[in-house]
C-alpha cells in the first residue's frame, strides 16, 4: 500500500514539475524575438542588415504620387507619412515596416506600390531615400500614447535586427494632401 502511494506521489510531483517547466520555459516569441535598436527622429540606427534614418513624420488626408503611374490615395482614416533613408548592410533585400499601437499592428501600406520605400529593393551601402506610408484610423493619432514604428531588412524578423522609433503623433497637423517623392537611390 505504501509503495503504491509513493508511486502516486512521485507521479503527481513529476506532473507538477513538468507543468512548471512548461510554464516557465521561454516560448518561440521570446527565443526568436528580433534585436530592437531604438532610434529617434534624425538619428541613424544600424542593425545586422539594415540601416535606417527617419527624417520626419507627417500626417495627411490624401497622398498622391505623380510617378510613372499617377496615384491618389484616399482613406477613411489618416495617412502617416514617414520620410526615411534606408540601406542594407550585408545583402540586398525588400525591407518591411509596421506600426504598432495599443495591441494593434498596421503593416506599411502597399497601395503606393513602387513609390514607397518598402516596395523598393535596397542595396548594401547605398542609401535610398523616400517615404513609408501607414494607413490608420484617426484615434491612433489622437492619443498622447506614442506609436511604435519598426523597420526591418525583410518581413522575417526572427533573431534579426529591427530599427524602432517611438513617437507621439497627436501634436502633428493633418495636411490636406502630400505629394510623394518616389524612392531615390544614392540620396
Amino acid at each position: 500500500m505504501i509503495r503504491v502511494l509513493v508511486r502516486v506521489v512521485i507521479a503527481v510531483a513529476m506532473l507538477v514539475l513538468a507543468s512548471l517547466i512548461f510554464t516557465l520555459a521561454p516560448n518561440d516569441e521570446q527565443t526568436q524575438a528580433p534585436v530592437e535598436i531604438p532610434i529617434s527622429i534624425g538619428e541613424t540606427g544600424t542593425g545586422r542588415n539594415i540601416e535606417v534614418t527617419v527624417h520626419n513624420i507627417r500626417l495627411a488626408e490624401v497622398v498622391e504620387a505623380d510617378g510613372y503611374t499617377p496615384w491618389t490615395g484616399t482613406t477613411p482614416g489618416v495617412w502617416i507619412v514617414v520620410d526615411a533613408t534606408m540601406s542594407n548592410v550585408v545583402n540586398s533585400t525588400l525591407p518591411s515596416g509596421f506600426l504598432t499601437f495599443d495591441g494593434l499592428t498596421y503593416f506599411a501600406s502597399t497601395r503606393p506600390d513602387s513609390e514607397s520605400l518598402v516596395g523598393a529593393r535596397l542595396t548594401p551601402g547605398i542609401p535610398t531615400t523616400g517615404t513609408v506610408l501607414f494607413e490608420v484610423p484617426l484615434d491612433v493619432i489622437q492619443t498622447s500614447e506614442p506609436v511604435k514604428i519598426t523597420f526591418a531588412a525583410s518581413s522575417d524578423l526572427r533573431l534579426d535586427s529591427a530599427i524602432v522609433l517611438s513617437e507621439r503623433l497627436d501634436e502633428l497637423e493633418i495636411e490636406p494632401a502630400i505629394l510623394l517623392e518616389g524612392p531615390e537611390t544614392g540620396g
Binding site: 500500500m1 516569441e29 477613411p76 482614416g77 503593416f107 497601395r111 506600390d113 494607413e135 524578423l157 526572427r158
Partner: protein, 200 residues
Amino acid sequence: MGLVARLLDTVSTRHWILLAGAVLLAITGLFGGLATVEKEPVVLPVLPIGEEHVGAQFGVAVHSVELMDVAPAYTFEADEGNEYLVVSITLTNNFVVSTTDIDEAISLEGLKLPKIDRTVLLSDSTPLPQAHPGLPIDVALVWQVPRGSVADKETVQVSIMEASLQTEPDLLFGDYWYDPVPVAHVDLTAHRVPAVGDSE
C-alpha cells in the same frame, strides 16, 4: 483507508479500466448515449443588401453581384468563353493585425466557383488590398466563370463567413484564422454591366 488499500491491492488494472469504461458509458447515457444523432439543420439569417454583419475577424456588408467583360483593375477580357463575376463588399478588419486574406470573408457556395481570381480595392484599383484594423474598405472580389453559368437577373446567394482563431506564440506566422463557415446569407440579383461601346 483500509477499504481503499484493499481495493488497490485486490482489484486488477483490467477491472479498473472496465470500471472506468462503464462509468463513461453511464455518463454518455445521460446525454443520449454514443449513438449518432441527427444534426439539427442550422437556419442562417438572411441579411438585407448593404447591412453589415459584424464578426470577430471581419465586418462585412455585401452590396452587389455583377457580370463583367472587364473587371475592376483589369485591362483585359476574360479567357475565351468566360466572363468575370464581381461581388462588391464593404469590409472592416475587426482583428488586431493588417491582413490581405479578404477572400475568406465571403463565399458563393451554391455556384461551385473556381479559385478566386483576385481582390481589388475599389478606390484606386490596388490588387490584393490590405485590410487594416478598424478601417473600412470597399473591395471587389473577382471570379472568372464560364459565360452563362450565372445569368443576368439571376438570384445569387452570397454567404458571409466566419473563421476560427488559432493562437500560437509563433513570431513568423502569429495568430491565424482557419476553417471559415457560413454565418449569414445575402440574396442579390446579378446584373450584367454592359461592355464599353455595347449598344444595349
